[in-house]
C-alpha cells in the first residue's frame, strides 16, 4: 500500500498546533517554556520532577473522587425536615423521562470522566517516570485522556455549587458534609495536575512505542 510507506519525521523542527508556524526544535530547560512567537501558545513547558508530582496528585485525586462521591455532600434543613445528598445524587437529579440522558451525562462530566482521566494518566506516566518501557496501549490511553480534557468539568461543578448555595440560603439552612471539603481540595488538585503536565514531553517519551 502506498499510504503505508514509511515517511521520516523532521525531528529538528516543531510546529505550532494552533497557527502552523514552524520553529527549529530547541528543548527548553526545566522551568522554562517554549512559546509560539505568533500566537503565544505554549509549545513545550517542562518542569522538574513533574512526572512524580503528577502521579502523587493523581493518586490523591483518585482517593478523593471515590470518597467525595460516597459521603454526603450537602445537607439542607428547613421546618424540621432535612435532606442530605451526595454528588451522585446531585448528578442523578434529572431522573424522569428523557431527562435520564441528562442525568447520565452530568454524572459522567463531574465524576466518571475526571476519574477516567486520572486512571489514564497513572497508566501512562508510572512506567515513564520509573524509566521502564511505556505500558502497551499508552499512546491510545494518552490520546483518550487528551480528547476528554474539555469534558472533565469538576471545577465548573464547584462554581455551580457556590451559585446554588447563594440561591437557597434564604430558603433553608444548608450545612456542608465531609464530601464538600474533599471536593473542594479535589478541584484544586485537578487544575494543578493539568497545568503541571507538559504534553510535548509525554509524547516525546512515548516515541519508542509502536502503538
Amino acid at each position: 500500500m502506498d499510504a503505508a510507506r514509511l515517511l521520516e519525521p523532521r525531528t529538528d523542527l516543531i510546529v505550532c498546533p494552533t497557527c502552523d508556524a514552524v520553529y527549529t526544535l530547541d528543548r527548553p530547560e526545566a522551568g522554562q517554556k517554549a512559546v509560539c512567537g505568533r500566537c503565544h501558545v505554549d509549545l513545550i513547558a517542562p518542569r522538574r520532577k513533574a512526572g512524580l508530582q503528577i502521579i502523587a496528585i493523581s493518586l490523591a485525586v483518585l482517593v478523593l473522587v471515590i470518597a467525595a462521591t460516597i459521603f454526603p455532600f450537602l445537607t439542607i434543613r428547613a421546618g424540621g425536615r432535612q435532606n442530605s445528598v451526595s454528588i451522585l445524587d446531585a448528578a442523578l437529579a434529572f431522573s424522569d423521562g428523557p431527562l435520564v440522558l441528562l442525568a447520565l451525562s452530568t454524572a459522567a462530566l463531574i465524576v466518571f470522566i475526571p476519574l477516567l482521566r486520572v486512571l489514564l494518566a497513572l497508566y501512562v506516566l508510572i512506567p515513564v517516570v520509573l524509566d521502564r518501557m511505556p505500558a502497551p496501549g499508552s499512546k491510545l490511553a494518552f490520546r483518550m485522556s487528551e480528547a476528554l480534557r474539555p469534558w472533565s468539568m469538576a471545577e465548573i461543578f464547584a462554581i455551580g455549587c457556590a451559585v446554588a448555595l447563594i440561591k437557597i440560603t434564604d430558603l433553608a439552612d444548608v450545612t456542608f458534609g465531609p464530601a464538600f471539603w474533599m471536593f473542594s481540595i479535589l478541584v484544586v488538585l485537578v487544575v494543578a495536575q493539568d497545568s503541571f503536565m507538559c504534553r510535548w514531553t509525554v509524547w516525546k517519551s512515548l516515541e519508542g512505542l509502536r502503538k
Binding site: A3, L7, E8, P9, R10, I14, V15, C16, P17, T18, C19, D20, A21, V22, Y23, G37, R38, C39, L74, I76, A78, G79, R81, N83, V85, D89, A90, A91, A93, F94, P98, L99, L101, L102, S105, T106, I110, K139, L140, F142, R143, E146, P150, M153, I156, F157, I159, G160, C161, V163, A164, I166, K167, I168, L171, A172, V174, W200, W203, K211
Partner: protein, 213 residues
Amino acid sequence: MSGDTVITAREMGLVGCRRCTQVWPADTARCGRCGAALVSRDRLSLQRVWAWWLVGFGCYIPANLYPMLSTRTLFTVQEDTIIGGAIELATHGAPFVALVILFASVVIPLGKFFAIAYLAISVQRRSTASYHQRHLLYEVVEYIGRWSMIDIFVVAILSSLVQLNTLAAINPGAASLFFALSVIFTMLSAQSFDSRMIWDVQSRQKETEGAHG
C-alpha cells in the same frame, strides 16, 4: 521570534501534528508518534462548525422558552424560565446572583454563537482583520464554552437537595435538557474550527508582497 518572520509548515511542504506537534512531510496521512490523522488545512472543518452551530442554536431557543426549574412550596407551584428566574432573583434582593446567572446563561451563550459565526465567516471571506485579535477570540471561545454548564449543575444541585416532601421541592424542567445539549453542541462547533486558517491570509499576503518587492 517576531510574527513577521514566521514560516508555516504548509509553505515548507510539511504538515504538523495538531496533537503532539511532530513535523512530517506534507503527504503523510497519520502521525507516527501519536497516531492522530494529519491534515494541512481542514477546509471541511467549516462545514462541521456550521452544522454543530445550527443544532446548538436550534437547542438554545427551546432552552429559553421552556421552564428551567419548577419550584413547589406549600401552596404554590412556580415555573421559571432562565430569564424569568433571573428577574425573579433580581426583584427579590439578590441582584448580583441574578447578574451572574444572566451572564452565564444568556450573555456567554449568545456571545459564543456570534463569535464562532464571525470566525467562520471571516475565514471563508479570507478576511484580513487582526489575526491576533481573532486568535484571542478563538481562544476565549474555546476556554469559556464549558463554563456555560454551570446553569445545569445549579439545577442539578437544587433539584436533588431541595426535596422536603410537602414543604418545598424543586424539580428540573424541560429547558435543562435543551440548554445542556446547546452547550455541548456549541463546544463541538468550536472544537471543529481549524484555527490555522485564521493565519493563512497573512502568509498569502506576505508571498505577494515578496513577489512585488
